[in-house]
């Protein structure tokens, strides 16, 4: 009983300690001087990255994860029904264009959340996209969480970087990057946008340098003109601040030659991979693929549209993780797909499908709990329009990502998502994950346990890792990047090893531990309590 309370209290403390804004100005300066890897590990809550892939237009979930054994599916879909899916199990299969996803799924790197949606579904692209972006709802009558004016990621980043964009606390790297030319409502924080839109890092830097953005009087924000001027000035300021770090991260990093040609999703994910591998500490990226509004001629003709879209998406994502794996970075990346709705169960007679409701979401990466969450779509009890009822609220997926991927405490997740949502175990629990199983090369560093830990209460904490064998170093650093302890510096046999670490005389605070071999490096953080 006593321990349980302790763990909960210290969990919250640990998260607070890893949020930049909670550090004193002195702490922040120390932070800025810390080595890049240390900042990467800390700043990104153990360096984890979330890539959101938006399938814009409403992806036809039924023809993506196909219930090919369901006679009702064939009855409703007629000629549009997929008869030769790539087998997932005895009842489900991937659209035949999705060989990349098939491979990732068979490796245990995809979690499918079936029938994700929300009550009283809205079939407008724009309203439903807003609901997904904001984490709102479509309740009737509307409540205070129906129409939100900021995005769920924006609110999350606002809790993680309080005070942004105050130069005194703004991190050295962008909070979120959208690959392209526009930013979305998903990234709108309570007070201002949290993301920047970038396409080509080099060109961006070249143009930005040489602009004098200083010298203007503060805009009069009591007028429309002043408000808009302030908006543009902020964008100019942000561009000036971040052009250099983004360019530096992209410099000297070459993508591995694994991407398909003529694939707009691949082109964008390539940039993301470069920035991640180049050490940019940005925790959130957004990539959008357009064209899923398949009202007519959905998947026939000489260049079947839905096949092309899913094929591009699936091969791009597979190549992205292959590239990240070759960089040794894939374990800290999670990719998640969103789409405003699925399509109507019954084909509309123009070889296409109208706007529908619930559809599967995908979570991709070596750290996911690969498999299928939820039941097959229930085609026997459709709503009065003829659409699938949702099984999971999409906000449950968001909550799972916040809690399990970013380690956000329940209270903060509830704040961000305007309520408590039951989570799904989408991510392998880091403390129970068996190192190496999902990773070629068998190199993996686990989260220490217990964490946070107190020498008085626990005596020590255990750090466990897997290695394919060879020379291994395991060092502990303080937040300033100063080496405080070396736990291993020797040849080890292949397999899983565990080492105890005692805080000894170290002051309370956040520390980093870093595992190095000739082939890979991985860093995690831990919190020491008094």
């Amino acid at each position: 009983m006593k321990r349980r309370r302790f763990v909960q209290a210290s969990l919250a403390a640990g998260v607070a300690a890893s949020a930049v804004g909670s550090l004193s100005p002195l702490g922040f300066r120390a932070w800025a001087n810390a080595p890049a890897f240390a900042r990467a590990a800390m700043n990104s809550e153990s360096g984890r990255v979330l890539v959101i892939l938006q399938l814009d237009g409403g992806n036809d979930g039924l023809n993506t994860v196909v219930p090919y054994q369901d006679p009702l599916y064939h009855e409703h879909r007629g000629d549009l029904a997929i008869t030769n899916p790539l087998r997932i199990d005895d009842t489900l299969g991937w659209h035949p264009a999705m060989t990349g996803f098939e491979r990732l799924f068979n490796d245990g790197h995809i979690a499918i959340v079936q029938n994700a949606g929300y009550p009283n579904p809205n079939r407008s692209h724009f309203r439903s996209t807003d609901i997904w972006f904001t984490g709102g709802n479509n309740n009737k009558p509307a409540d205070e969480n129906s129409v939100l004016d900021d995005g769920w990621i924006g609110r999350y980043l606002d809790t993680r970087y309080p005070g942004y964009p105050d130069p005194a606390v703004a991190p050295a790297h962008p909070l979120a990057i959208e690959i392209g030319s526009t930013t979305s409502l998903m990234m709108q924080g309570p007070e201002l946008g949290m993301s920047m839109a970038i396409y080509d890092p080099e060109t961006f830097y070249r143009i930005i340098s040489g602009t004098d953005i200083s010298g203007g009087d503060p805009p009069n924000t009591s007028t429309p003109a002043g408000l808009e001027l302030e908006y543009i000035r902020n964008i100019a300021l942000e561009a000036n601040r971040y052009a250099g770090p983004v360019r530096d991260a992209a410099a000297d990093v070459q993508n591995h030659d694994v991407y398909p040609d003529n694939n707009s999703v691949a082109e964008r994910l390539k940039i993301v991979a470069r920035l991640i591998a180049g050490g940019l500490e940005t925790p959130i990226y957004v990539v959008t693929q357009k064209g899923y509004d398949t009202h007519a001629q959905q998947d026939n003709g000489s260049t079947p549209r839905h096949s092309r879209l899913l094929g591009e998406m699936s091969s791009a994502v597979a190549a992205f993780f292959e590239d990240l794996n070759a960089f040794g970075q894939d374990r800290r990346v999670l990719l998640m797909t969103i789409s405003e709705f699925g399509r109507r169960v019954k084909t509309n007679g123009t070889d296409g499908t109208d706007h529908g409701t619930a559809a599967p979401m995908f979570f991709v990466g070596p750290e996911v709990n690969g498999g299928i969450f939820g039941n097959n779509p229930d085609l026997t009890t459709l709503d009065r329009i003829g659409d699938i009822a949702h099984e999971f609220d999409f906000k449950q997926s968001y909550a799972s990502v916040l809690r399990q991927w970013f380690g956000v405490p329940p209270s903060t997740a509830a704040l961000v998502l305007k309520g408590e949502w039951e989570t799904l175990p989408l991510i392998q629990a880091s403390t129970t994950a068996t190192g190496g199983t999902g990773m070629p090369g068998g190199f993996a560093l686990e989260q220490n346990y217990p964490n946070p830990f107190s020498q008085q209460v626990h005596g020590s904490t255990t750090i466990q890792f897997s290695t394919p064998g060879g020379h291994i170093r395991l060092h502990v650093y303080n937040i300033q990047g100063k080496l405080v302890s070396t736990l291993v510096d020797s040849e080890l046999a292949a397999g899983t090893h565990a080492f105890r670490f005692s805080a000894a005389s170290l002051p309370a605070g956040t520390y980093l531990y870093r595992l190095e071999s000739s082939r890979a490096v991985e860093t995690r953080s831990m919190v020491i309590l008094k």
């Binding site: 396409y199 930005i208 009069n220 007028t223 003109a225 908006y231 964008i235 561009a239 009202h295 007519a296």
Partner: protein
């Protein structure tokens, strides 16, 4: 809450535009309110979002802009000035020129507005593939059709660059974005041509008639699947967007059942085959669709509570009858947001909607009232509009007298800034406003405005500002301070700080003392270019 409710000062004071020593002086407004700016911003954003969603709120709080639709008349305190004339012209044209401003100044604002909205005959295009008989003896392959589509885009770009003193091109673009389409919907580009030409010829027409005409226009029938919507195979794509995007707004007075019933009423209309081209392709009439009774759902439908054997015109009539005030407010709000400010003043919208309905959906009286109003000319609205790529780039070219010798490249640049003609991002069109500016888009704007000043490095022919010619249009280019003042006054809608003014002056002088400034001296041209580059990179230069 209404958008201006956070305001601490109530009415914005409007002062004269007289020049203060050393600065260019513009609409001078009250100082920023004390207090938490971030909180203000938050409230404004929240109000912005509500406004975007078309919510209506009570007006029990002081407002940011208090003037109404009553006509604005110049006075000693608020004269008909170059700044106000420039503002009116930048909002109704794509940028403006010093000549146009002088023309406006020679008249009074009422006459200028009248001239801007007057119907005139648009010029003929330089190609002839828009005509039916062209296709009887010419090629019809995809490659040639792509070239023709490009000719259309070039010509449209040229219409904006060479526009006459009329709101026509601004309205043409507005309607093409209200009824957004994508070029690839049609195999031959004459569908696109006539669709756009309809707006050019009806740029301030009758809104209700426009909705009917667009509903059965061949391009729209292709783009939103109306041509495939039949009795046995209904497709609700157009029916939904007709209500959500073209007349009412999302969820504003209709149900999913209304959409499905309206989709049935819209059946029967499809493309009219006119013949077969020499290569065996079926050709369809690009301007007129055809009603095929066998495709029509010849049964009763119930739309918004009204039951009958309705057809397409009935659907429009029912929407306008049952929800007239909502439709009027919807389209007036959209016009307001295009011509005044993103966040609509709902009192003004109500006034405009009344005028629209009183005039049986004729749009011209609405636009005349708005553009002549005190509300439009309120100092707080001047500079509040974030320019679109077309307004920014084509406007800069016009302002700086850059020759329109390579419209293809101008089209490409606008596309690179986020506005590719005939390729709206989706059925809702370009969202506009703040979405025009992001870090990457602002960087792109800086890049292309630099290029305008220093000359394009690629393309044939190349183009750029003729600095000597441009400076020659200014009243007193030999006085450095005056030169900076005049360019800023002409180009920038907002007042600059003394420090910004000095920065621009430094860019012009390049370290030389002021009294040595000579625009004809060797090397002066490069200094003027540095200066213009800095002007166009100002955040203020993105506004109008």
């Amino acid at each position: 809450m209404d958008r201006r409710t956070f305001l601490t000062h109530g009415r914005t004071t409007e002062r004269d535009y007289r020049t203060a020593a050393g600065t260019s002086s513009f609409a001078d407004t009250a100082p920023p309110p004390a207090g938490d700016v971030a909180q203000l911003h938050r409230r404004v954003l929240s109000e912005r979002m509500e406004s975007l969603k078309g919510r209506r709120e009570p007006y029990d709080m002081p407002r940011m802009v208090t003037s109404g639709l009553e006509p604005w008349h110049p006075s000693t305190m608020q004269p008909w000035s170059r700044q106000r004339a420039g503002y009116l012209l930048r909002r109704t044209l794509f940028g403006t020129t010093l000549d146009e401003i002088e023309t406006a100044m020679a008249s009074d604002p009422d006459e200028v507005v009248h001239l801007l909205v007057t119907d005139t005959t648009p010029p003929e295009p330089p190609f002839d593939w828009q005509h039916d008989d062209y296709w009887n003896n010419n090629t019809n392959n995809d490659r040639d059709n792509r070239d023709r589509l490009q000719e259309l885009r070039d010509w449209w770009t040229e219409r904006m660059l060479l526009q006459d003193f009329s709101i026509r091109e601004k309205m043409t673009f507005f309607w093409s974005n209200h009824w957004a389409t994508e070029a690839s919907s049609a195999r031959q580009p004459h569908f696109n041509f006539w669709f756009i030409e309809y707006f050019r010829q009806n740029f301030l027409g009758n809104f209700k008639q426009m909705v009917k005409d667009v509903t059965v226009s061949p391009l729209m029938l292709l783009y939103l699947d109306g041509a495939y919507n039949t009795r046995t195979r209904p497709n609700e794509n157009y029916a939904r967007e007709l209500m959500e995007l073209h007349t009412l707004g999302e969820g504003n007075g209709y149900t999913q059942e209304d959409i499905q019933e309206a989709a049935r009423a819209l059946t029967g209309w499809t493309l009219q085959q006119t013949g077969t081209s020499p290569v065996g392709t079926r050709m369809y009439h690009p301007r007129e669709a055809v009603f095929v009774p066998g495709r029509f759902d010849n049964n009763e439908k119930t739309i918004m509570g009204r039951t009958g054997n309705w057809g397409y015109a009935d659907v429009v009539d029912i929407i306008f009858d049952v929800h007239g005030p909502e439709v009027a407010r919807f389209i007036c709000r959209k016009l307001y947001r295009e011509f005044v400010y993103e966040i609509a003043d709902e009192q003004i919208i109500d006034g405009l909607a009344d005028i629209l309905m009183e005039n049986n959906w004729e749009l011209r009286p609405v636009m005349m009232t708005l553009l002549k109003s005190r509300h439009f000319f309120d100092a707080a609205n001047i500079g509040a509009h974030i320019t679109s790529p077309l307004e920014f780039y084509i406007g800069s070219m016009r302002a700086l007298h850059v020759e329109a010798n390579n419209v293809r490249r101008v089209y490409q640049v606008c596309a690179s800034l986020g506005c590719q003609l005939l390729e709206a991002p989706n059925v809702k069109g370009w969202p506009g406003y703040r979405s025009w500016i992001s870090a990457s888009r602002l960087a792109s704007r800086w890049s292309v405005s630099d290029e305008l000043v220093f000359g394009t490095k690629s393309g044939n022919p190349r183009y750029g500002v003729d600095v000597t010619a441009f400076i020659g249009t200014l009243p007193n280019p030999r006085n450095a301070r005056r030169l900076v003042h005049d360019v800023v006054e002409f180009y920038i809608p907002l007042r600059l700080s003394n420090k910004q003014f000095d920065m621009l002056l430094d860019a012009l002088l390049g370290g030389a003392p002021e009294y040595e400034w000579d625009p004809t001296a060797t090397g002066a041209e490069n200094h003027i270019k540095d200066f213009l580059k800095a002007v166009l990179r100002l955040s203020e230069a993105q506004l109008s």
